[in-house]
Amino acid sequence: MANLKSIKRKIASVKNTRQITKAMKMVAGAKLKKAQLAMNEFKPYATAYEQVVVNMTNNILLRDSSFFQIREKVNNVGFIVITSDRGLCGAFNVNIFKELLDNIKRRNLENNNINLYIVGKKGADFFKRHGYRINFNSGTSVKKEESSITEKLSKIVAEDFINGKIDELNIISSRYFSPVNQKPDCKKIFPFEKTTENVNVEDYVIEPDSNDEEVLSTIFNDYIKVEIDIRLFESNAGEQASRMNAMDNATRNAGKLINKLTLSFNKARQTAVTLEILDLVNGANALK
């Protein structure tokens, strides 16, 4: 019977898919462990750096630095968007796009005032398709030891900010809280917020004192790099976790589908058997 055959074929194909998603889950799990490790290694450094920069921003004397310049009118806004290279990771990328689009909508930004710096293929594809201007496209988000993406990117954004090409710089990426909890998040990097409380009016001695502007700009430039780095690590871990969950769901759904199909396969076979017996009985009766 044709129906029987087609159901059988379907079961076989779903079984295949289940096997693939299962394997992908395993791979994502292994990668997640690695990514988590790398992230946890780097985290203390990033946290300490952040604290240092907060301490420094609380100091009035350092506020002559160009990174503190608050532009009177914020026209051009820069966004660093960190996405993944590959799909099949649930709503991971979509959540990030949504965060950015919400941001743009909320602030009523015009298309030509938006400057995008994109890390990750998925993000580049999406924003290209929707006609946004992309200032920087890393092409890949996979962080390798010798990769110079962060170096290049941090240099470009710092230059763009100081040259006035952008008046504000935000970074949008997925923050990693746990394997089942990642949230997209938008953080303003430049200009530094001038907090009014806890202002440290004491002097800061900057050494070597002959060129404090250079010392400061090196530290602040490095800060962008560290900030992008930690987010890359987090995004990578989040991507793998998200993929693991997505593949886990897919495997489970495939199992359910197989059960359903097997049931209908058995039903169809039973119908066929019954029909055949009926035929036989009818034939025998006719002969009597």
Binding site: E41, F42, A48, V52, N55, E202, Y204, T218, I219
Partner: protein, 81 residues
């Protein structure tokens, strides 16, 4: 009042101690000793040894490249690599 000392590199926290009495760092302009109440400062590091004293015990670790920030009686040393 003792100083808080925190030394991190990109892999882990090397030192985190809240009871440091004295600390010596290889700053760019020469070796610098820090006692509680030191003026706030920022400096790059030269290659050398970071020495610190807790009670009567001296310890030291190697430093290569990085920078130091001191404020609120807290020394943060960020080493590269």
């Amino acid at each position: 009042m003792p100083i808080k000392l925190k030394v991190v590199n990109t892999k882990k926290i090397l030192i985190e101690n809240n009871d440091v009495d004295y600390c010596e760092i290889p700053a760019k302009c020469g070796i610098e000793g820090i006692l509680p109440g030191h003026i706030n400062f920022i400096s790059f590091l030269n290659e050398g040894k970071i020495k610190y004293k807790i009670k009567d015990e001296y310890n030291e670790i190697d430093a290569k490249e990085g920078f130091v920030e001191f404020s609120d009686n807290t020394i943060s040393i960020l080493l590269k690599g």
